[in-house]
């Protein structure tokens, strides 16, 4: 989330991406950084034990949401 904030501060459009286990953590960190809402995409947990093919499939499935996150709306403070 700090990376997201740092990119936004430099004028680089960004979105937060993590697995679903990190919904609460990202919300807590976003609030602490002054955001009410951050464009975010959460892929199904887990991540670590995925095969490369499974990880590619996760990325493919998330691509539309990621593109939407960086092309519509934006963070709200």
């Amino acid at each position: 989330m700090h990376d997201f904030a740092a990119l936004e501060a430099r004028g680089v459009v960004a979105a937060f991406c993590a697995s679903t286990e990190f919904v609460d953590a990202s919300a807590a960190q976003a609030r602490a950084l002054g955001y009410r809402e951050v464009p975010a995409v959460f892929v199904p947990h887990p991540i670590q034990d995925r095969t490369d093919d499974e990880t590619r499939a996760l990325a493919d499935a998330a691509l539309d949401a990621v593109l939407a996150a960086v092309t519509t709306g934006g963070p709200a403070r």
């Binding site: 700090h2 286990e21 990190f22 609460d24 953590a25 807590a28 960190q29 602490a32 950084l33």
Partner: protein, 472 residues
């Protein structure tokens, strides 16, 4: 500021003091003396009311009676108790107290009364505190109120009253408003005062504060990466090992049960660091702290190295701190687990034994990922000392024993899918990255049980141990 005479004599007394009562006729004999009474405005007749002790504090009175002479607005003479020649010299009046004994010692000033110490401390210095004051209602239980506000790690905390924070701040010469560090995960600047508040919450004594401050400085560095350590699902947390004279001065345990409970300094210093991260940095379990399991030492983990019994130079010295200088080293730590070897009497055998225990860090088949700390107990250290092994000798032997056969650690080996990818498992691999294993000497005199403290991902992608000198 009380209205003291620009030129003249001031006396401070209290009725409760026999010597003050003894000199009452003397005070009556001295025209123009301004008398302040600490406990009874009617004693002696005509006295000024100093039951709030404002005049006594302004004069720094420690004993009553105290007699002070002012000239041109400045104190020029003072005497305490009753000593006829001193009173006569200070007042310039001869023949004082005819019939009184020549000398009687005074009594303690009410400003020295232990029951009033907190109130007077707050009255005199409370205004120097910048922290927001929180008033509890009469119906609130103090301990429960602190839990309710989320300032506890789950154990009771000590209420950080103004008096306690002021006394804690007496433990350092650093200014309360000095910024010590920027605390992750919320990157909040923390002052000496805010660290003191959390040290009170944790149960520290004032003399621990310099160690807590050094630990906060060390933990809030890019190298230590407290944010990553907090946010990772791995269960490690910050631990502190203390070197130098401060350890003994504040009663840190480096001996029996050094990693356990029962010593206030050990139990509260690490806790204070964790409470700073929680209450200032905003790092809380369920929030940014995502540990899958965590461990009990995340409440606080601090111990001292046993330097006196160590065959090696202190850890801090090996990390660049001058001998005799107090320092903290903060490192990522899981809970400790013992390594028993009650047979080895040669250093080579014992090193291989310890290496076997270290190999289990994170996973026996994973290498170059996780750091670790080895706590060598005195009875094991004795074997190395007898053989003349330096710390470097032991490190070398451990590195050799922990250079692992790729056939044993490749994914799938041993019927275990976890392991090193085949593409990397082409040659013997070291268990730990260079500098990824720290060796400390601590523990009780009996027991051939050292301990391995697993760490977290080492280096730039994770956490590197950080050493900082302890400043008074």
């Amino acid at each position: 500021m009380p209205d003291f005479p620009r030129d003249g004599v001031v006396a401070v007394v209290k009725r409760d003091c026999p010597t003050c009562r003894l000199v009452e006729p003397v005070l009556a004999q001295l025209a123009g003396v301004v008398v302040y009474s600490q406990d009874d405005p009617a004693f002696p007749p005509g006295a000024r009311d100093d039951t709030d002790l404002a005049a006594s504090l302004a004069l720094g009175v420690e004993t009553v009676p105290t007699l002070v002479r002012f000239a041109a607005g400045a104190e020029v003479a003072r005497t305490e108790g009753w000593l006829r020649p001193a009173w006569e010299e200070l007042t310039g009046v001869d023949g004082l107290g005819a019939g009184l004994p020549e000398h009687r010692p005074g009594c303690g000033s009410r400003t020295q009364d232990p029951e009033l110490a907190d109130e007077l401390l707050v009255r005199s210095r409370g205004h120097t505190l910048a922290s927001r004051a929180v008033e509890l209602t009469a119906l609130e239980d103090e301990a429960e109120a602190l839990f309710d506000r989320g300032w506890s790690d789950g154990l009771p905390v000590v209420a950080p009253t103004q008096a306690r924070v002021l006394r804690m701040l007496d433990g350092t010469s650093r200014a309360p408003d000095e910024v010590v560090a920027v605390v992750p995960p919320n990157l909040v600047p923390v002052t000496v005062e805010k660290v003191a508040v959390n040290a009170v919450l944790a149960g520290c004594r004032p003399e621990y504060l310099p160690v807590v401050l050094a630990a906060v400085e060390a933990a809030c560095t890019d190298e230590f990466n407290a944010h990553g350590l907090l946010a990772t699902t791995w269960g490690a947390g910050p631990a502190i090992v203390v070197n130098g004279p401060v350890a003994a001065e504040i009663g840190l345990n480096s001996g029996g049960n050094a990693l356990g409970q029962g010593t206030r300094a050990n139990s509260t210093i690490g806790r204070a660091l964790q409470l700073v991260i929680r209450n200032v940095g905003g790092g809380r379990p369920g929030g940014v702290d995502r540990a899958t399991l965590g461990h009990p030492g995340k409440t606080g983990f601090c111990f001292a190295e046993d330097e006196a019994g160590s065959p090696w130079e202190p850890l801090s010295v090996s990390r660049g701190v001058a001998p005799g200088v107090s320092a903290v080293t903060v490192f990522a730590a899981e809970g400790p687990r013992g390594i028993a070897d009650q047979i080895s009497r040669t250093p080579d055998s014992l090193a291989r034994s310890l290496a076997a225990g270290l190999r289990t860090v994170a996973h026996p088949k994973l290498v170059m990922g996780f750091d670790a700390t080895l706590v060598v107990c005195p009875e094991h250290a004795r074997v190395f000392a007898a053989a003349g092994w330096s710390r470097a000798d032991l490190e070398g032997a451990l590195a050799e024993a922990l250079t692992l056969d790729p056939a044993e650690i490749v994914r799938g080996a041993g019927g275990i899918e976890e392991g090193v990818p085949a593409a990397r498992a082409t040659a013997p691999l070291p268990k730990f990255r260079p500098g990824g294993l720290m060796i400390v000497h601590a523990g009780g005199g009996a027991g051939m049980f050292s301990a391995v403290i697993g760490g977290w991902v080492g280096g730039a992608a994770g956490s590197t141990p950080v050493t900082r000198e302890v400043r008074p």
